[in-house]
Assembly symmetry: C2
Homo-oligomer: 230 residues x 2
Amino acid sequence: MTPWSHDELVEQLRAVGREHYHDRHPFHVRMNRGELSRDEVRAWAANRYYYQKSIPIKDAVLLSQCPLREVRRLWVHRILDHDGTTEVPGGIELWLRLGEAVGLSREDLESDRHLLAGARDAVDSYVDFVRTHSWIEGVASSLTELFAPGLLRQRLDALERHYPWIEHAGFDYFRGRIDRSQRDGEEALGIVLRHAVTRADQESAVDALRFKCGLLWAQLNALSPAEARP
Amino acid sequence: MTPWSHDELVEQLRAVGREHYHDRHPFHVRMNRGELSRDEVRAWAANRYYYQKSIPIKDAVLLSQCPLREVRRLWVHRILDHDGTTEVPGGIELWLRLGEAVGLSREDLESDRHLLAGARDAVDSYVDFVRTHSWIEGVASSLTELFAPGLLRQRLDALERHYPWIEHAGFDYFRGRIDRSQRDGEEALGIVLRHAVTRADQESAVDALRFKCGLLWAQLNALSPAEARP
């Protein structure tokens, strides 16, 4: 099998996003229309927290699989971005503040007391996927970042407009994340283009991204069984 | 079983170092007396490289096991310290320069062509240990850093004095490492004292340090079977 050109591989990856990214899930569509109840917004924030807190674990697993120093050097900032430092709050801290802004306590989030089994399973399967696949597939699975900026902008706009009861301090997560997603997506794409060079590796990268889209989607299905879609 | 006080635990850990740290191995004793041949110095540098390059992998495994953000925040710099950045050479790069200073090529080290089975097994068993034990035991296994500054100072002095054929640019690894070992050892000790609070966890921490001393020792046994000691 002839390897795809860079353009062809990028198109394959973008096609996965167009078809499977969770911006099209009914729950997100309702969120963006301002149709979620307070309880639904709270359930979403509490369940998505489990994803947030698992991301640095997933990235550490990925680093531990990668024998290339130059790739680890590029990747390690993601752990810092989520965990933060003593000076700079990371993504996990900002998500806790979002939780507070929608009326939950830190304890609500940190205890996982509102975590649904389906959302937990989806996230755990992600960490597991990265543990049991090549580091290139791990990197490829992060390429949902390529599609994130549009969704994040739309979401920030929708939350500000339609949910005036949410304290604005809660939006800092999204404000910082839009630019960072853009950068991270391009960085990961560069790594995949450089290192997935055989057709088999390229197809595995596309499959990894499809898997990742599936588990983001599964988290929303868990939140809203009545509008669950395959 | 009553937990040890902090002082008692520190004493238990230091006792392991006094008895099992590899500064007392005959190969190191000869190194410090200036009695190693050029080939022995080269074999040591080439084999120890495998340890150096595995350390960030081990630390990524450790991060991936640790659910505490505040501990991951403390630990992540170790990966950066070894891998370096585009601006600052890390420990792995400095060890490659040491290899060149003793007359090996980068390719000699990076290809593992001089790597002995016993040295490889010892290092692989370390990564495996961290993967299969608690993150606190992983942290405790790093406490050989507590004993490293003395050995590093002695080694730097011995190399400069007794091995004038080694290019001095090769010593940068040790120069930077003395202070960093001190800091890293104290940091890891603080984590162990805070988090190993039951007597069982404290004993596991001591066992982890004993295991680590054993594998440093095993690397030297592999290098010099004639003077191998249990």
